[in-house]
Point group: D2
Chain length 156, copies 4
């Protein structure tokens, strides 16, 4: 992959190097992910995003989504689709934190073929952390913040 291509297409667009996401996970497609066009429906990409994100928050950040005081509310999401995906493919999902504020975090998420080289979609996802009861923003602190800071590594 030459540098010009790299600059034009962003990380991992079919090149020889693994794109620079801080964390990778694999998520398999399901039969019902395919829609009438025989490919993964556009809504499912968002399920891949929030699954990768929340798995990280639970396993690394100690998020207790059933009883904890703080929960993450999605206030914005976006996805650009670059190639079709179809069951029974397994996707590699790259995850980084692009911006970490007091109460909010913006993730960037890359969906790739299992080889982590061919991008099929890339997205943006913004969480605001709020108090479970009154839904007002709270500062992200403790293990949750540590977990999110780890995702800044390599986020360029």
């Amino acid at each position: 992959m030459d540098t010009a291509d790299n600059a034009a297409n962003g990380p991992g667009a079919g090149g020889a190097e693994e794109p620079d996401y801080a964390h990778w996970t694999e998520i398999p497609t399901r039969w019902a992910d395919n829609d009438a066009y025989g490919h993964m429906n556009n809504t499912v990409h968002y399920a891949f995003m929030d699954t990768a994100i929340n798995t990280w928050l639970v396993e690394e950040g100690g998020l207790d989504y059933r009883g904890g005081d703080v929960i993450g509310m999605c206030v914005e999401s976006q996805c650009s689709y670059t190639a079709e995906v179809a069951f029974p493919e397994v996707l590699a999902v790259g995850l980084s934190v692009a911006r970490l504020g007091t109460s909010s975090v913006q993730y960037r998420v890359g969906l790739y073929r299992r080889d982590r080289r061919t991008e099929v979609a890339r997205g943006r996802f913004v969480h605001v952390f709020v108090d479970r009861t009154n839904r007002r923003p709270v500062p992200v602190e403790g293990p949750l913040r540590v977990a999110l800071e780890k995702l800044q590594t390599g986020a360029a």
Copy 2:
């Protein structure tokens, strides 16, 4: 609809009379309900069932699924598929209570074309009502029981 057909096919199998469900509601299909075969995926029929049931429990039985002490846990479900459904169809969903016990209830649900004459699927769905915290069965009482008894009307 002659009696022989009625006996063989059960309520509402393409006959001229409306099948004897206690309550009807309409639910539209969504684009992503279709799977790769261009018809509504078999899992979606269950979403129609628990949507019809829980709408009734909330609106008629006063179920407070977010804060109430009692919640309904599905312990068994079943569906027989008799005809294909495809987006953007709207289905008529018939709902009755087949058996009401101390803590449990068995519903029968019929999915029909919008005319309420042509059956596309029929199912069975069993709820056990439990304490939200310890998940142990509790007696169904008060407005919830009243709402379920209403669904016995016409359940034959």
Copy 3:
């Protein structure tokens, strides 16, 4: 709704007038739309968007998604979430075309409480129309173009 509010908040942000979408449809929530936080999961908003869009394409534009030569591929989508939604709410979905190109169309979609006054989310959705077999862009013509042009009315 005064002009200042309108400029600041965009169409329909809690004002007294119906926001200026070209077409409205109602879509009910389903039980399983709620996630662990007791509100409609962020991915479901996209299902509302592509359901509203594809219903229009099928019913007004003559889209034959199972056998036709031309299909609509989603190449980008985006959503901003402004209020929580929960089962069993019914949402009003406003739909307009923001930009109509030779082969592509950008929709803007507003999700509102049933009163069409209180916005809960707004999104962007981009279709490229392609040949079903070779997946290459084709010009949007005939009844499909007519249907899309109708959505430009009032799109401001």
Copy 4:
């Protein structure tokens, strides 16, 4: 696990031995699988079933669901739920063929914790293989039949 328990509870009900399914696969939960009760919604178990089944049919039986002449239509499904599942659990899914007819096949599917010892649900799923165009039953032959016969091994 003593024999009496085994007879009473069926294969794999919390015992010390791996239950006798012919094939195992692992499927992770997704964030949105959880419903308002903080556990995997009852409809999702069916998505696990038809994902395990169709993955086998595609990878072992050569099913070409996009272009092939023969497709599998679900005519009946059923599930008994024995324990709650919650994101981000990974489930082990056991798959066997209980009955293989000329045109139809009945699978039995077991959903287990990742250890393959603790059952969380078990289900039944019936496919009728039909001609893609006229939707009439056709005999299951060739590689597809071979793949299904492999699932009879150990099906007891």
